[in-house]
Assembly symmetry: C2
Amino acid sequence: MSTTGNPETTARRRGRRPAGQDTRTALIDAARAVFAENGYDGATVRAIATRAGVDAAMVNHWFGSKEGLFARAVLELPFDPHELMETLRDGPDEEFGERIVRTFLTRWDSAGGGVFVALIRSVAGHEQAGHVLRDFFQNFFQHVLASVGSDQIPLRTTLCASQLVGMGMIRYVAKFEPLATTEIETLVAAVAPNVQRYISGDLG
Amino acid sequence: MSTTGNPETTARRRGRRPAGQDTRTALIDAARAVFAENGYDGATVRAIATRAGVDAAMVNHWFGSKEGLFARAVLELPFDPHELMETLRDGPDEEFGERIVRTFLTRWDSAGGGVFVALIRSVAGHEQAGHVLRDFFQNFFQHVLASVGSDQIPLRTTLCASQLVGMGMIRYVAKFEPLATTEIETLVAAVAPNVQRYISGDLG
């Protein structure tokens, strides 16, 4: 059980950190319950906020959107696209692939393989989990690809997703050696040029 | 229910096609039951053959090995590594990636996405299914990589697996557009150079 303060009070103290973390935890707990009961499409931001006893605006404040909340609460993705773009914006365009592969591996490794396994089980079992994963990659790569001026953004987005999801599948779910335990920088050197080609290279 | 002839008679007519197809079907049915009851490690070729009412040699004759039978019966992979290598041997080494991507997409497309979804569910849910998938890729890519004289065969094998499994995940399981419905030759042009780099390129 998580320790939550008085949620009504919390909702009024918008933006104050200590109470806010309680709000965030309460929203994640409520979201897990409401998504499980009603499915992704049937779950409303209002219903989740009511269950958590906080204002609906707190969902946007803490998670950006219903998708962001689902990504955190159900898919257990350890980041959201907006936060991720902030991290990746610094550096040359031709090294975007390198920064992306390094960041994904570092976050997924530190979150433990179980997070990625849960994500893949969700996607294999529930259509709506696949939609959220798609929205996540779309939001994220639209920013990346627009910022480097690439053409064919939708195809490039899904090609990048194929390599990153596949890398996660082999490293965390199927656990094929040596990729499952290869050092991050060795994998970055091996995989990043392929992701970079999907971002800005000639697709033939 | 499959139509099987008298299995004892079938077993004695080894190598005769019409009866053989019944043997093959009986083995697949028996394998599904025995793998489900005993798990991958607990299931023996002898137990499966006994359940099917045929000689244990029929498993090697039709499926090459216990792994091959599991791949067909449980993972529903529409091919086995030996058959696949025959198909792919013809052509220049530098186009191996192209032939591989085209062949996988063509087979998986024609088998329907459901086959790949079942495969990923097996891998996400059962450790032994992951081992069989690993063995499949290892057997297959060891032949490919040895025939083109590549170094770092284990790492290259798992890198190739990451791209092919990821492509299958996005096209058949998560169904991200446009990759889910992109024409095969467009995808071959986009993905094959990346697989080729994993086969014979500089890994950094």
